[in-house]
C-alpha cells in the first residue's frame, strides 16, 4: 500500500520510452521513500511484458490484458486506473506527458480529487511546513516546472490529496536499467471487474502511427532554430549545416508556432529534452522553457543578433551576428578544414 505507481504506455507491444524513463526516476524516488515501485500496464497480448519492465526495478506489475484495451481509449483506461488506485492507494502516480498521459491523467485526478501537475522538469522528495496550520508534511513529492511563460520556476505540492500525480515529457528523465535480473511480482487484473461494456463508446476508425523520422534524442549534434531565424528559407540553412555536420535539426516553440518547423522537432519543456555533444542555437532567445530542454548539452554555441539574449548566459561560444550570414560561413570553413 501507499507505493509509487507508474502508468506504462504500450505501442506495438513495446513499452514506451517515456514510461521506462519514469520507472528509472520512480525507482530512485521509491528508494528514498522506502516504498515499492509498482507499474500498471493496459493493453492486448501482454504475455511476457514483465521482461521489459522488471529490469527497471519494478516490484509489482499490474497487467490488464484484453483485446479491447489496445489501442488506448479514454474511458476504459480511466476506469481501470481509478479502480486500481482506489484499492491500492498509491502515494505517488507518474505518467508520460504524451497524448495518452495528458488525456488519462486529468480524468483520473478529477475522479479521485487528487492534484496533477503537468510537464514537470524535475521531481524530488521533501518536507513541507504549513506554518498557518501548524502542520509539517513529511516526504512530499516536489513537482517542479517552469510556469508563467517561463519567467518563474514553481514547486508544486499536494499536501493532503493522494495520489500525488505528475506528468513528465519524454526525454526529461534518463532511462537506466537497474538490474537485468531484477524480479518482481506480476498481478493480472480481471478486466471485467474494472470495465463495463458501455465504457467502450469510442470507435477508432483508422489509426496511422509512424515511427518518428526525426531522431533528436539520439543525435550527437543538434542545430536548433528559433523565431529569430526569420523565415522558412533561412531555416533551410539549418538543415544544410546539420547535414554537413551529421546532426539533426531542432526548433524552439516559437519557431514551431511560426510554421518554420514541425512539432516533432520542438525542443523544450513542452517538446523533447536533448543532451547532445554539441547544440547550436540559432536565433533562439533562450527562454527557460527552451533551456529546460537543452541546457545539459555538453557544449552550446549561440548565434544571435541580440548580445543580451538569455541563451548567451549558458553558451560556451556566443556568436553575435545574423544566422543567414554566420551559418554559410560555418559550412564553408568546416568543409575547408576537414578536407
Amino acid at each position: 500500500m501507499n507505493n509509487l505507481f507508474v502508468y506504462c504506455e504500450i505501442e506495438d507491444g513495446a513499452v514506451a520510452e517515456v514510461s521506462l524513463e519514469l520507472l528509472t526516476k520512480g525507482r530512485k524516488l521509491a528508494d528514498s521513500l522506502k516504498c515499492k515501485l509498482e507499474a500498471v500496464v493496459l493493453g492486448s497480448n501482454l504475455q511476457g511484458i514483465e521482461k521489459q519492465l522488471f529490469p527497471y526495478g519494478v516490484d509489482v506489475l499490474h497487467v490488464a490484458d484484453d483485446p479491447r484495451l489496445y489501442p488506448y481509449q479514454t474511458l476504459p483506461h480511466t476506469s481501470v486506473v481509478v479502480k486500481l488506485f482506489e484499492a491500492e492507494k498509491p502515494q505517488i502516480a507518474l505518467m508520460g506527458a504524451t497524448s495518452i498521459g495528458r488525456d488519462l491523467g486529468p480524468r483520473v485526478s478529477s475522479a479521485l480529487h487528487s492534484g496533477l501537475t503537468a510537464d514537470c522538469t524535475s521531481l524530488e522528495i521533501g518536507d513541507h511546513e504549513d506554518k498557518k496550520a501548524g502542520v509539517t508534511y513529511k516526504d512530499l513529492l516536489y513537482q517542479i516546472r517552469p510556469a508563467f511563460g517561463g519567467n518563474i520556476i514553481a514547486t508544486i505540492i499536494n499536501p493532503d490529496c493522494r495520489p500525488q500525480m505528475a506528468t513528465v515529457r519524454e526525454g526529461v528523465m534518463k532511462k537506466e536499467i537497474l538490474d537485468e535480473n531484477y524480479k518482481g511480482e506480476v498481478k493480472y487484473l480481471d478486466v471485467n471487474q474494472f470495465v463495463s461494456p458501455e465504457e467502450f463508446v469510442v470507435e477508432i476508425i483508422e489509426r496511422h502511427i509512424e515511427q518518428s523520422k526525426v531522431n533528436l534524442k539520439g543525435a550527437p549534434i543538434i542545430v536548433a532554430g528559433g523565431y529569430g531565424v526569420g523565415s522558412r528559407e533561412n531555416f533551410s540553412l539549418l538543415y544544410e549545416l546539420a547535414e554537413v555536420l551529421g546532426g539533426e535539426v531542432g526548433a524552439s516553440r516559437a519557431a514551431v508556432d511560426a510554421g518554420y518547423a514541425g512539432h516533432e522537432r520542438q525542443i523544450g519543456q513542452t517538446g523533447i529534452t536533448v543532451r547532445p555533444k554539441l547544440y547550436i542555437a540559432c536565433g533562439i532567445s533562450g527562454q527557460i522553457q527552451h533551456r529546460a530542454g537543452m541546457e545539459e548539452s555538453a557544449q552550446i554555441i549561440a548565434i544571435n543578433t541580440d548580445p543580451e539574449a538569455p541563451i548567451n548566459a549558458i553558451a560556451d561560444y556566443v556568436i553575435t551576428g545574423d544566422v543567414a550570414e554566420v551559418i554559410p560561413k560555418m559550412i564553408r570553413y568546416y568543409r575547408k578544414n576537414t578536407k
Partner: protein
C-alpha cells in the same frame, strides 16, 4: 435534423508569448498588469469548430462559458463578434486561487446550470499553464466521454461525431456518440475573423457589473435588446460544495516560486567575421566536437 446546443469553454489569458522586460516586478513576482490579456489561442480554434458545426447544422446555438475576473467579459464579446450566440461569465472571489481541478468543478457546475447540451468544445490547453487538464477534468465531472487533440471534425449529426485527432506520432480517426467533450488542437483551422454585422450588433453587450459603469445614454438599450445582456454568475448562482472551490478546493499548492537564475558560464565571444568563424570551426574539429 435539429440544431445542436454547443458550449465553448474559453479562457482569457495573459499573453505569455509576448513577455516584455516590465513583465516581472522588482521583487520577482509577475506583473500581470503589464501583460496584455487575450483570448486563449486554442480556445479560438475551439470556437471555430463550433462555428463550423453551426454553419452546417441550421439552428445550432453556441454559448461561450468563461471563468475569470470582470474583464474576462471581453472574450465573450469577442466570441459574439465571431458568431457565438451568447455567453456566461462565471466570476466571484470564491473562485480565486483555483487550480485546474477546482476550475473544472466550477465550470462543470455552471454547465449543469446552463442545462442541456450536445457538445462541449474547449481548446486543448491555455498558454498560461499549458496543462491541458481542464477539458478532460470537466468531462469526468459530467461523466461523459471526451475526444482530445481534435484537428478536424469529419462529420457530425444530432447523435454522433467523427473527428480526426492529432497524436504526437500520427493521426487517428475516432467516432463517438453525443454528448461529449472535445478539446481542439492549435493545428486545427484558425478562427474566422470578426463579422462586421455582429460587431455592430454586440459591441454594447455588457455584463451586469459592466452596466453599472456604462454610459447612461445606452442604459435603455439593455431593456430593448435583451441579447446585449451577458449573463454573469457568482458563486451563488451555481450549486456548489464550498470545499471544492477556489484555493480550498485545489489539491495542488504552490510551495515556492523561484526566479529564473541564469547560471552564467564563461562564454567566448565571437564575431561573425570570416577569421573568427574559421578559428571556431578549427577549434571544434580539433576538440572532436564535430567532424
Amino acid at each position: 435534423m435539429r440544431g445542436l446546443k454547443i458550449i465553448v469553454l474559453a479562457k482569457q489569458v495573459p499573453d505569455t508569448r509576448n513577455v516584455g522586460k516590465d513583465a516581472m516586478k522588482a521583487d520577482g513576482t509577475v506583473n500581470r498588469a503589464a501583460l496584455p490579456a487575450i483570448f486563449n489561442p486554442e480556445d479560438l480554434n475551439a470556437l471555430e469548430q463550433a462555428l463550423w458545426i453551426k454553419d452546417n447544422i441550421p439552428g445550432t446555438t453556441i454559448t461561450l462559458l468563461t471563468m475569470g475576473p470582470g474583464r474576462a467579459a471581453d472574450i465573450i464579446r469577442e466570441g459574439m463578434f465571431r458568431g457565438a450566440d451568447d455567453g456566461v461569465l462565471l466570476s466571484d472571489r470564491a473562485f480565486a486561487g483555483s487550480d485546474t481541478l477546482a476550475t473544472s468543478y466550477a465550470l462543470s457546475q455552471a454547465i449543469r446550470r446552463i442545462g442541456e447540451f450536445d457538445i462541449i468544445i474547449a481548446g486543448r490547453q491555455a498558454i498560461d499553464g499549458d496543462t491541458a487538464q481542464v477539458g478532460p477534468q470537466v468531462a469526468e465531472k459530467l461523466k461523459i466521454p471526451q475526444l482530445t487533440y481534435v484537428e478536424e471534425i469529419k462529420s457530425v449529426d444530432e447523435s454522433r461525431i467523427v473527428v480526426k485527432r492529432r497524436l504526437e506520432r500520427g493521426v487517428e480517426q475516432a467516432a463517438c456518440n453525443l454528448p461529449l467533450v472535445l478539446t481542439v488542437n492549435g493545428t486545427a483551422a484558425e478562427c474566422r475573423a470578426r463579422n462586421a454585422r455582429l460587431l455592430m450588433k454586440y459591441k454594447h453587450a455588457r455584463t451586469v457589473s459592466e452596466m453599472q459603469s456604462a454610459n447612461e445614454d445606452y442604459l435603455h438599450l439593455y431593456n430593448d435588446r435583451p441579447y446585449l445582456n451577458i449573463t454573469e454568475w457568482s458563486v451563488n448562482d451555481i450549486e456548489s460544495d464550498p470545499s471544492q472551490l477556489g484555493l480550498n478546493g485545489s489539491p495542488t499548492k504552490v510551495k515556492k516560486i523561484d526566479n529564473v537564475v541564469l547560471q552564467a558560464k564563461e562564454s567566448r565571444m565571437i564575431s561573425s567575421s570570416d577569421e573568427d568563424i574559421e578559428e571556431l570551426m578549427v577549434e571544434l574539429i580539433s576538440s572532436h566536437a564535430i567532424g
